[in-house]
Amino acid sequence: LAKTTQPISMDSYEGQEVNITCSHNNIATNDYITWYQQFPSQGPRFIIQGYKTKVTNEVASLFIPADRKSSTLSLPRVSLSDTAVYYCLVGAQSYNTDKLIFGTGTRLQVFP
């Protein structure tokens, strides 16, 4: 599975838009890009998934350029409750392959 690279941490303030970029230079043709969110003392939780261009749901947007070598998770108007670790995963088929491969993730801290 393609290796991903994300910033280790990011800080933001309430009400701001947060963009977390993930690099996946070796992404394969049939790989999907999936983002998970993890709060302290909880397991990872699916946020959004995409293959190309843009995907939007009630939680976030996912932007994927034409070459698919990177992707950007966009969280609009973050609140304190968005403080969490965000993981970018790349794998084949929808919702990844059988085993999810997690990277280091990006620790987002939202300040009041």
Binding site: G43, P44, F46, T97, D98, K99, L100, F102, G105
Partner: protein, 113 residues
């Protein structure tokens, strides 16, 4: 609908002892996965059950770890004997389909002293 549950939430044992972790997947989910994150490391895959069969156990670290899923419902992960490096958080996840979305439990924090 109840989510994935894990028991206990936290376990503290001494080196050499045995610990058994339990995972109850979402009802109807045939696929069950175990993952763990040891201190300072990334979340790593351990193994995957489809019903009661082990589909992939390539992530199991060694033979001190034994996972079972009798009857294809809940699963247990036994560590015997536990070593200091086994300390970490053990997550269980389940999915309805093999390539379906995986739902994670809250994890069991294991501390080996």
């Amino acid at each position: 609908e109840a989510g994935v549950t894990q028991f206990p939430s936290h376990s503290v044992i001494e080196k050499g002892q045995t610990v058994t972790l339990r995972c109850d997947p979402i009802s109807g989910h045939d696929n069950l996965y175990w993952y763990r994150r040891v201190m300072g490391k990334e979340i790593k895959f351990l193994l995957h059950f489809v019903k009661e069969s082990k589909q992939d156990e390539s992530g199991m670290p060694n033979n001190r770890f034994l996972a079972e899923r009798t009857g294809g419902t809940y699963s247990t992960l036994k560590v015997q004997p536990a070593e200091l490096e086994d300390s970490g958080v053990y997550f269980c996840a389940s999915s309805q389909d093999r390539d379906g979305l995986q739902y994670f439990g809250p994890g069991t924090r294991l501390t080996v002293t």
